[in-house]
């Protein structure tokens, strides 16, 4: 894999291992997207303080990107074990529906206690959903894509049952705080997401959790023979993924003060998977990068923002997104980069007499 020493040194503060090749490309892509926006909106980078709150396009990206970042965070660990969690979108909807349903029927909708029980209810149910996924995958050996598909489909229905097919609106200042409030001028959702990412990074890298997850995903049979209890780890990552999705669901419903069983978190699992992949964690499991995932989520969110601010017609939004994602994936592929390099070099005269000209054939074969 080619790394560019000059540039990786520039990012060197984060740590040589991470900066080397893992985060470089996602970071450059994010930067390019942001600069692209700047070309259209000259005030794109400007951040103002109004009423003691930060405002600006960058802040919007962070705030609206917070739920996606959380879902992608959970997804990263699942994918690192060679799994996938398609049910997160439904969990988002269920969590929002439960919380709003609880608040709207509570005696004191605006009290902190009601908000806390609503949050506890949502997280508790998410825990059960995560355990169910984990049990199907590790206990029964169902393929992750199938196991979580069950909840993806059924969960949407459950969310609609909870909301009675309606959009449940709530008025609760404490609840509004989670997804729409500010703390120390920052959007609370951004602070919460940052804290959870930092916490996850700390736990996975300071404990042996990260290494064991990478081992199980990188080589399951070797991991079994080395005595790793994969079952527990698998259950843990699915529970974690569901909890992350639940917090994201609380944020989303809190931001709009309502729960929509139909549309909340719709297709967020796909955005999350994209964010993970764009961030450099392979779907085949093994090595994962939380930093990459955060960058990936921000890339996806910036794309969505760009689409709106450029005034791309809504019906072409998905096509536009897909196009950018393809480009991102291509740029990250060593094979593709090598091929482009080769194309460029073929313009210089070459001879067939020595194998030394072989950089033309920089195809990477597994």
């Amino acid at each position: 894999m080619t790394t560019q020493p000059a540039k990786s040194e520039a990012v060197g503060g984060i740590g040589r291992r991470l900066a080397g090749h893992r985060l470089l490309w996602p970071a450059l892509i994010l930067l390019a997207l942001l600069l692209g926006n700047l070309a259209f909106h000259h005030d794109f980078f400007s951040v103002r303080v109004r009423d003691g709150h930060l405002y600006g396009s960058l802040i919007d990206i962070l705030q609206f990107g917070a739920p996606l970042t959380l879902v992608a965070l959970g997804m990263t660990l699942v994918i690192a074990t060679r799994g996938i969690d398609l049910s997160v979108g439904s969990t988002v909807a269920i969590a929002g529906a439960l919380a709003c349903g609880h608040i709207s029927t509570a005696a004191h909708p605006g009290s902190v206690a009601t908000m806390l029980t609503a949050v506890a209810l949502a997280l508790g149910v998410a825990l059960v959903l995560g355990l169910a996924n984990g049990f199907l995958v590790s206990g029964l050996g169902v393929q992750p894509i199938v196991a979580t598909l069950i909840l993806m489909v059924a969960g949407r229905g459950v969310a609609q049952l909870i909301t009675g097919g309606q959009i449940v609106t709530v008025t609760s200042a404490p609840y509004k705080m989670i997804g729409g409030g500010y703390w120390l001028t920052f959007p609370f959702a951004v602070l919460l997401a940052t804290a959870l990412v930092a916490f996850t990074g700390f736990v996975t890298r300071r404990s042996a959790l990260g290494m064991l997850i990478e081992s199980v995903g990188g080589n399951p049979s070797a991991s079994r023979l080395v005595g790793i209890r994969a079952g527990g780890l698998l259950a843990l990552v699915y529970v974690f993924s569901a909890l992350c999705a639940a917090v994201a669901g609380l944020m989303i419903s809190s931001n709009v003060s309502s729960a929509d069983g139909n549309n909340a978190g719709l297709w967020i699992e796909l955005d999350a998977i994209l964010a993970v992949v764009v961030g450099g964690t392979a779907l085949t499991g093994g090595r994962f990068s939380l930093g990459g995932t955060v960058l990936g989520a921000l890339i996806i969110q910036t794309l969505s923002t760009t689409v709106y601010s450029l005034g791309v017609p809504p019906e072409t939004t998905l096509v536009f997104k897909a196009f950018v994602v393809i480009v991102v994936c291509l740029v990250q592929s060593p094979v593709f980069r090598a091929k482009v390099l080769r194309r460029r070099r073929t313009t210089t005269p070459r001879s067939h007499t020595t194998a030394g000209t072989a950089p033309q054939q920089q195809e990477v074969r597994a």
Partner: protein, 519 residues
């Protein structure tokens, strides 16, 4: 790039090499794998490429066949400069290769594996019956009576290896390159392969052959090219070499103390037999894998498991480690009955197991040398009790040095290491848990003489320090040299347990393996 027309070598005058490489250089990050290496292959010869592990044999082959681009040097095909962009181009130009890492697809049929990429077609669709027929013909040529419709993965590693060879041979090859094709084959399969190689040689094919078995070199090859540390040591007609000079040139200077190693203490073994064994297996069995067997293993004792490939040696070991769980029978450790249902049970009781499949069942290729080394210890502690980074670094450094793992970088990804060094990483992983019983399944397979001698010495030393060792190897000499007692397996049955005294000779062992009766 089009293949130039290939003139047949003329009968008169100097024979022209069909493939020639000069001054080949290949740099990997941090490793100069090849430095000015030359190689000539003539039509109708079997040419051995020799060198210790990590000498650059596989890399040379990959550079020649377009897997890796070279960083310098010239490759001539039939006297003309030529660069293959990828292995497919090489194959189309008549250079067929079986790489060291067999890369077939276990979940499709044998026929598809043999003909993948060039399936017979009709109306643009795969002509399945023609494909099966063609594959069956090719297999029959090699005396391989396989059902071509069966899944490749349902066969043993050895059979898969042969299928890979059949696949390579099935192209009108001018040059056939075999990178350690015999490392997982048993005697009979090797003989089959050699018959095929000789037949191809007589047809005028040039064969480049990499192996670690010296007797195979002297048996089969006409000329030898020796690499040492990425450099060309020399090219010799086989007649100019003896096994000793060949090994000397491969390792350069100090000849490994292979033969100084001997197992003295046979009297000790007799004493041991009366003491309580560390592990005692009684009527242990698993249907379809191994018939009921009894086995006692004492502390400080090396038990060799001998038998042909597929005779059930690995299966015996896997039951003792809980990798497979037994259907019946019992195991006691230090006199107490235990249940070994999972590897964790066995590990908790001080048993360690190095699988014969280093890649698929041993190492986690993506992780670093350090992470692979501490993995077993960390797994035993669970994720909530991490080894500190300082401790990990210390352990990695210690074992890299103790076992002379190269390159000595603890942060290198383990998949980039050569086979011998990967084996050492695997050993380090278990040794640092200080096991009471170490099960080694083919620990010296596919690794060079130097590393092999080191591992053999290590086994003897561990036993001397009181570790019990169960040692599985296809090489009888090795088993004889190291073991205090030898259990012989035949057709999934333990047919004999011999105390390794002066009466046990390779011949006697062979007879037992072949007939199932101790003469």
């Amino acid at each position: 790039m089009a293949t130039p027309p290939t003139p047949r070598p003329t009968d008169s005058g100097d024979p022209q090499p069909v493939l020639e490489a000069q001054g080949i250089r290949k740099q990997f990050p941090g490793v100069l794998a090849l430095d000015g290496v030359a190689l000539r292959l003539f039509p109708g010869e079997v040419h051995a490429l020799m060198g210790e592990n990590g000498a650059g044999k596989s890399t040379l082959i990959k550079v020649l066949t377009g897997v890796h681009p070279a960083d310098g040097g010239t490759i001539l095909v039939d006297g003309r400069p030529h660069v293959f962009a990828d292995p497919l181009q090489a194959q189309q130009a008549g250079v067929s290769t079986v790489y060291q890492e067999v890369n077939l697809c276990p979940n499709i049929s044998v026929a598809e594996n043999v003909l993948i990429g060039r399936e017979p077609r009709r109306f643009g669709l795969i002509h399945w019956s023609a494909m099966r027929q063609r594959a069956a013909e090719l297999l029959t040529e090699l005396d391989l009576g396989l059902d071509v419709t069966s899944l490749l993965g349902s066969h043993s590693l050895a059979v898969q290896q042969l299928v890979a060879i059949v696949r390579a041979v099935d192209v009108s090859a001018k040059v056939l390159v075999l990178d350690e094709p015999t490392s997982s084959l048993d005697r009979e399969e090797v003989a089959q392969l050699f018959t095929l190689v000789r037949r191809l040689r007589d047809r005028g094919v040039a064969i480049l052959f990499v192996t670690h078995f010296l007797d195979q070199v002297f048996d089969l090859c006409d000329r030898v090219t020796i690499l040492r540390n990425g450099r060309l040591e020399g090219e010799y007609p086989i007649g100019e070499l003896t096994p000793v000079t060949l090994v000397q040139r491969m390792i350069g200077g100090e000849l490994a103390t292979l033969d100084q190693l001997s197992v003295r203490a046979h009297e000790e073994a007799a004493q041991r037999a009366t003491s309580e064994p560390f592990l005692q297996a009684r009527r242990l069995t698993r249907t379809g894998s191994v018939e009921p067997y009894d086995l006692d293993i004492h502390a400080g004792e090396v038990i060799g498991l001998a038998g042909l490939l597929g005779s059930g040696r690995t299966e015996v070991a896997r039951l003792l480690f809980g990798a497979d769980s037994a259907d019946a029978g019992e195991v006691s450790i230090e006199g107490r009955k235990v249940l070994l249902r999972t590897p964790r049970h066995a590990i908790a009781r001080g048993i360690a197991f190095c699988s014969e499949n280093r890649k698929s069942e041993g190492l986690v290729g993506e992780l670093t040398v350090r992470e692979n080394i501490v993995l077993a210890l960390q797994a035993a502690r669970g994720w909530t009790r991490p080894l500190s980074r300082t401790k990990q670094d210390e352990l990695a450094r210690h074992w890299i040095q103790a076992l002379d793992i190269r390159p000595g970088d603890p942060e290198a990804q383990v998949r980039h290491l050569s086979g011998g060094n990967q084996q050492k990483v695997l050993l380090a992983r278990w040794l640092l848990t200080a096991p009471r019983l170490l099960i080694l399944d083919e620990p010296t397979r596919g690794i060079d003489i130097g590393a092999k001698a080191e591992i053999q010495k290590l086994v003897a030393r561990l036993a001397g320090e009181g570790t019990a060792v169960l040692f599985i190897s296809a090489e009888l000499e090795e088993v004889l040299r190291l073991s205090h007692r030898i259990a012989v397996l035949r057709d999934h049955r333990m047919v004999a347990t011999l105390t390794n005294d002066d009466t046990v000779t390779p011949e006697r062992l062979l007879t037992t393996i072949a007939t199932g009766a101790d003469s």
